[in-house]
Symmetry: C2
Subunit: 305 residues, 2 copies
Amino acid sequence: MVTGGAGFVGSHLVDRLMLMGHQVLVIDNYFTGKKWNIQQWIGHPNFEVIRHDVVDHIAAEVDEIYHLASPASPPHYQENPTKTIKTNVMGTINILGLAKRVKAKVLLASTSEVYGDPEIHPQTEDYWGHVNPIGPRACYDEGKRVAETLMYSYQTQQGVDIRVARIFNTFGPRMNLNDGRVVSNFIIQSLQNKNLTIYGDGSQTRSFQFVHDLVNGLIKLMNSNYSMPVNIGNPREFTILEFAKMIKEKTGTSGKIIHQPGAIDDPRRRRPDITVAQEKIGWHPSYSVEKGLDETIAFFKLHLV
Amino acid sequence: MVTGGAGFVGSHLVDRLMLMGHQVLVIDNYFTGKKWNIQQWIGHPNFEVIRHDVVDHIAAEVDEIYHLASPASPPHYQENPTKTIKTNVMGTINILGLAKRVKAKVLLASTSEVYGDPEIHPQTEDYWGHVNPIGPRACYDEGKRVAETLMYSYQTQQGVDIRVARIFNTFGPRMNLNDGRVVSNFIIQSLQNKNLTIYGDGSQTRSFQFVHDLVNGLIKLMNSNYSMPVNIGNPREFTILEFAKMIKEKTGTSGKIIHQPGAIDDPRRRRPDITVAQEKIGWHPSYSVEKGLDETIAFFKLHLV
Ligand SMILES: NC(=O)c1ccc[n+]([C@@H]2O[C@H](COP(=O)([O-])OP(=O)(O)OC[C@H]3O[C@@H](n4cnc5c(N)ncnc54)[C@H](O)[C@@H]3O)[C@@H](O)[C@H]2O)c1
Ligand SMILES: NC(=O)c1ccc[n+]([C@@H]2O[C@H](COP(=O)([O-])OP(=O)(O)OC[C@H]3O[C@@H](n4cnc5c(N)ncnc54)[C@H](O)[C@@H]3O)[C@@H](O)[C@H]2O)c1
Ligand SMILES: O=c1ccn([C@@H]2O[C@H](COP(=O)(O)OP(=O)(O)O)[C@@H](O)[C@H]2O)c(=O)[nH]1
Ligand SMILES: O=c1ccn([C@@H]2O[C@H](COP(=O)(O)OP(=O)(O)O)[C@@H](O)[C@H]2O)c(=O)[nH]1
Ligand SMILES: O=c1ccn([C@@H]2O[C@H](COP(=O)(O)OP(=O)(O)O)[C@@H](O)[C@H]2O)c(=O)[nH]1
Ligand SMILES: O=c1ccn([C@@H]2O[C@H](COP(=O)(O)OP(=O)(O)O)[C@@H](O)[C@H]2O)c(=O)[nH]1
């Protein structure tokens, strides 16, 4: 089972699981996902998709659950903060209740946002984070932190077999064209010869991984027997300004780089320490950011009409 | 309306509101509260109590809501972490939904635990906190942090008029005799001439306020027009060892001070900076810890039979 399987990351995970011969059940309410992302499997005997909100009771018999259902980009998750919290809290409780009943393994797609605006760099899994509980990002950051809390509660109280992936910024084909994240914004702006909008001075950093690396990591983590949180991300760090320049160059756009007001509580730096992933689940990224960007730009060219 | 009104703090708040001539409606599921705490008002025409769980839809027409429903002591809130999270998340959503519908003011009883094991001392309201999202205290700490997130979401999205009190350790008559907190443990151990159990070396600190001071603070905050978080606590700081000695002396017990293993993720230091409370709502504590302890010890003597 893949919740949020019609989304960007979920649909790539579904592709891989289907190609591996699994029976796949997708649960999605299409809030940010699209049926188009999984249409290639509709009608396949191993595949099923149900339109369902994870906030409501879930009925299914499954062995493994990848729990990805949650809006992921700031404009989406800030649109209805209460709903974001309900999805992460009630959704995760329902998935854990289901997992308990059917004795399934559950993997939670958590996020580097649990570290907030980090004071240690790069971020290791034992860092407790630096999150503003009453800021505009809190509904997502705190929602995911509580989702993790719930995972470990069900592990301790109910013996549920859990995995927790802390996912760092990810990009690739099928990213939501208008989800407002930096990769899609810069590529679309470039392809339309519009200006590339940097929020703030562009000195803030992010580390970007290609989606196929992430999918590898999620599957490796599920199949490992390591149940503490694991960072999944590419440790190569860019300032947003460097990143804008790179996309400008790759696309040959005539758009210019412009600066807009910085976002509130925008993390200053972000880079994963992936020692745990390497040592415990034998994973490290293998796509270069350049190669990933080429594929992503090609995808956007095809779909921007 | 007072949720959690049959509890320790809630029942003192109810006393004060009744004496001020208000109509008071208590909502409580008696998880840690007792009818005994509010029996003095049962039958009074201005008073009503409903056995109800705040996790479920709440029907009522009210002007002001003091939202206190939540277990508060570590042994209680760790007994069922998922329930603790549900109470704080779904309970707060329901209260805010109700407040939105009837246009009531809502005050959330938040906690100094949102600061976790703090790295700054004393704690000011703008500190983002240092909380382990996957530790044994997380269900309470993160539950309250999300409750705050929800308060500010409903303020921004729905225009609900909110107040957020960050309450520091509080003691007084009607504390749950067996709730495992340090004040009740030390007093009961002393009165029974048993040993006083210090967890760890006793160098960790806490600041203790008497419950009547807290009740003053909550009412002042509700009647103010300040909607950002406000610390309510007594800034006088004790090490747990000093505190044990003080209670030993006051009770003249023959019990000795002994050390037991420290608690996991036990905050090392805790003391409120109450500048905001003083400047914005004109509040500061007026009971000395000594006077409060005398009243509390007298109460325990009466009820320990
Ligand atoms: N993409 C990243 O950079 C990134 C980084 C960190 C974590 N994550 C996490 O990975 C997961 C997938 O992210 P994504 O980038 O694919 O986002 P996405 O928005 O493309 O996908 C999320 C999917 O969840 C579905 N969904 C949302 N709320 C739901 C609900 N209540 N019930 C059922 N389905 C619901 C959406 O319709 C969508 O299909 C999320 O949990 C996200 O928090 C992503
Ligand atoms: N006492 C302190 O030192 C302290 C410190 C910080 C914050 N607080 C907060 O103050 C509030 C009151 O604490 P207290 O010390 O009086 O604790 P308490 O346990 O005595 O009171 C809590 C009350 O809430 C009720 N309750 C719990 N879950 C409920 C639910 N799901 N539905 C309805 N009622 C429910 C309990 O039955 C009880 O009457 C709590 O929100 C607590 O987090 C207390
Ligand atoms: O197959 C199932 C089993 C449980 N749940 C939900 O999971 C949550 C937690 O279930 P659990 O059994 O842990 O607790 P309880 O039912 O006691 O709340 C509940 O809201 C259930 O509705 C679900 O959605 N599908
Ligand atoms: O058009 C944009 C979109 C985002 N950003 C910045 O790029 C970084 C990454 O933003 P994104 O929303 O992609 O993800 P986040 O890591 O903040 O969740 C942040 O510093 C944003 O302020 C930007 O400069 N221009
Ligand atoms: O008088 C009321 C009004 C609302 N709610 C609950 O408050 C929550 C949030 O209500 P809101 O109207 O904000 O959102 P929605 O109903 O759209 O979820 C819902 O679960 C309602 O059941 C309640 O308990 N009492
Ligand atoms: O019998 C006890 C109970 C508590 N404590 C310590 O006293 C402090 C306050 O504990 P309490 O549970 O009262 O409240 P907290 O502030 O930790 O929520 C903590 O450092 C506890 O480890 C102790 O030494 N002995």
